[in-house]
């Protein structure tokens, strides 16, 4: 029958880190959380007057480089982008401060995810001291206040991990390259 062709990707009950027994519940919870804390889809048109989608793209390209420079884990990068989008969904920002928002969000995400987060000075340095430490710290608390410290969110990376697992269930060797997407 057709049903028997479907592979159960949660069949590995022996590996405690795979959380197989309740993987479906984790997935459900994450999807619900995602709906609750999703950034608005049209903030560029509705709210932002000064910045454009192109500027956001440039900022994110730059943040990818920064995260490589400081050897940050991928989760930090994805969380950073989630924080930026959620901030921009509710707050108007001038283009001069967009990069400031970017580094401040990355600093928050590093503190949440990394074992040794880079210091505020290092984030100033990476902007070639365009912004002072005081500005970065002020933006940090502005972002945290706006988001009410709600940082436990599923990101693209969270779901990607699950999808890769599903996609590879019939292969023996895990495909590491996909991790670097």
């Amino acid at each position: 029958s057709k049903e028997s062709d479907i592979v159960d990707i949660d069949s590995d009950v022996k590996d405690p880190q795979a959380c197989s027994l309740y993987a479906p519940y984790i997935d459900d919870t994450r999807r619900i959380t995602e709906l609750e804390r999703r950034p608005s889809v049209n903030y560029m048109e509705e709210l932002q007057k000064d910045i454009t989608p192109n500027m956001r793209a440039i900022l994110i390209d730059w943040l990818v480089e920064v995260s490589e420079e400081y050897n940050l884990v991928p989760d930090t990068l994805f969380l950073t982008i989630n924080l930026i989008d959620r901030f921009l969904s509710h707050n108007y920002i001038e283009k001069q401060r967009l990069q400031l928002l970017g580094v401040s969000c990355m600093m928050i995400a590093s503190k949440y995810e990394e074992i040794c987060p880079p210091r505020a000075e290092e984030f100033c340095l990476i902007t070639d001291h365009t912004y002072t430490r005081r500005e970065v710290l002020k933006m940090e608390s502005e972002v945290l206040n706006l988001l009410h410290f709600q940082l436990s969110v599923p990101t693209t990376k969270t779901f990607l991990r699950r999808f890769i697992q599903a996609a590879q269930s019939s292969y023996e060797v895990p495909c590491v390259e996909l991790e670097f997407m």
Binding site: P16, Q17, A18, C19, L21, Y22, Y25, I26, T29, R30, N54, M55, I58, L59, W62, E65, E68, E69, N71, L72, V73, P74, D75, T76, K95, Q99, M107, I108, K111, Y112, E113, E114, I115, P117, R119, A120, E121, E122, L125, I126, T127, D128, T130, V136, L137, E140, S141, L144, N145, H148, F149, Q150, L151, S152, P154, T158, R161, V176, E179, F180
Partner: protein
């Protein structure tokens, strides 16, 4: 809205926090709810400016240059996801305009366990009530552990009892809440490995505290002494040896000053307690944290067989943790801790290692910065036109 407009202070304070500052109750003028307010100090200079009620050894004490400390960020984002009937919810979150501290308002209902026991001396020792309260306490702790966190300071002032009404009220209705206020008391209700200053702490620390509370409910007074807490722990449970505390802590030096005791039979101290209760107590008050019972196992202990079905249904998180029998990998585990704790750890370290190779080692931070700053500003200029 300004904090002072929204809330009204209620009394002189309900206790002292871990950072040795008083904690006050406030009334929400709009909703009529009571909250207990905890403040997390963010700025170093303010720590120096505020007079402390004791010697300063605060966890929040960090130099100013880190901005909002990583611990605070993780701590508060954890409070944001906690959702369990036996854990006090975070009702209010706000900061002062100068960013010197964050205010956390936790739900505060009823009275704390210490006052409850004092005011209801006879009723609080009713076996059925103790069983119901212990089940709720352990459910709350199991939930903490299922999200890969530990409370770290379970004691009678951090446990609230509500809905107890008068003496005829049904014991099953009495509700227990664990709060995150970090109130401190003496004795500390802390596990021996904390008192021995071990650096390998785990979620097992909460279980010992739960054991202390259980014992106190059974005999109506604290199990261990205020002055010589560790000494009295060893007097009852036996002084640990290299064999009994293997792999936990290097004992030789620290144990020199303690008298050698052998473990006592708990049923002699806790007279008239049912055997299942003694068995659970001995598993909670186990000296070695590695052998101490886990919250999810404790909920399945035969002592709780009498608990009604409705109370026996734990939250999905606790249920899932109980199924696997490993509280450290709850459903939210990957979302709470640092990425090193999640299932992704292996992949992440691999990724980090590779990106180090990809990014040219010769390119220093500042070189990268300059090239990127130029590109960003050029791009911003062009998109402007």
């Amino acid at each position: 809205m300004d904090f002072r407009d929204k809330f009204k202070q209620l009394d002189l304070g309900i206790g002292t926090s871990l950072s040795r500052r008083p904690i006050f109750k406030y009334l929400d003028k709009e909703t009529g709810k009571t909250i207990a307010l905890k403040r997390i100090i963010l700025r170093h200079e303010l720590l120096q400016a505020l007079p402390l009620t004791g010697s300063s050894n605060s966890r929040q004490e960090q130099p100013i240059d880190v901005g909002i400390p990583a611990n605070t960020i993780r701590q508060i984002s954890l409070y944001r996801i906690l959702d369990h009937p036996n854990i006090a919810s975070l009702e209010y979150l706000g900061n002062d305009p100068g960013d010197h501290f964050v205010r956390l308002g936790f739900e505060y209902v009823g009275v704390d366990l210490r006052k409850f026991q004092k005011d209801n001396a006879i009723r609080s020792r009713h076996p059925k009530l103790i069983k119901s309260l212990m089940y709720q306490l352990l459910s709350g702790i199991a939930y903490y552990h299922s999200v890969n966190a530990s409370h770290g300071n379970i004691n009678p002032t951090n446990v609230l009892i509500s809905n107890y009404g008068d003496d005829n009220n049904d014991d099953e209705q009495v509700n227990l809440l664990i709060t995150n206020l970090d109130l401190c008391v003496q004795p500390s209700y802390q596990a021996p490995e904390i008192l021995l200053e071990s650096n390998r702490l785990s979620t097992a620390v909460d279980m010992f505290s739960a054991g202390c509370i259980f014992g106190e409910m059974l005999i109506g007074k604290p199990v261990f002494d205020t002055e010589n807490e560790l000494g009295s722990i060893f007097k009852l449970l036996g002084t640990p040896t290299k064999q009994t505390m293997r792999g936990v802590i290097d004992l030789d030096e620290k144990l020199k000053k303690y008298q050698k005791h052998s473990p006592k039979d708990l049923s002699e101290t806790f007279i008239g307690v049912e055997p299942a209760g003694i068995d659970l107590l001995s598993k909670l008050l186990c000296l070695n944290p590695k052998e101490r019972i886990m919250a999810s196992e404790a909920l399945k202990h035969r002592y709780f067989y009498g608990i009604e079905a409705k109370k026996r249904v734990p939250t999905p998180a606790a249920a899932a943790a109980a199924e696997v029998g490993n509280s450290s990998v709850g459903p939210f585990a990957a979302e709470v801790g640092s990425s090193s704790a999640g299932p992704s750890a292996a992949m992440d370290s691999l990724a980090a290692g590779t990106s180090a190779v990809v990014g040219s080692p010769a390119a220093s931070a500042s070189v990268l910065v300059e090239s990127w700053i130029d590109m960003v500003s050029a791009a911003l200029d062009s998109s402007e036109n």
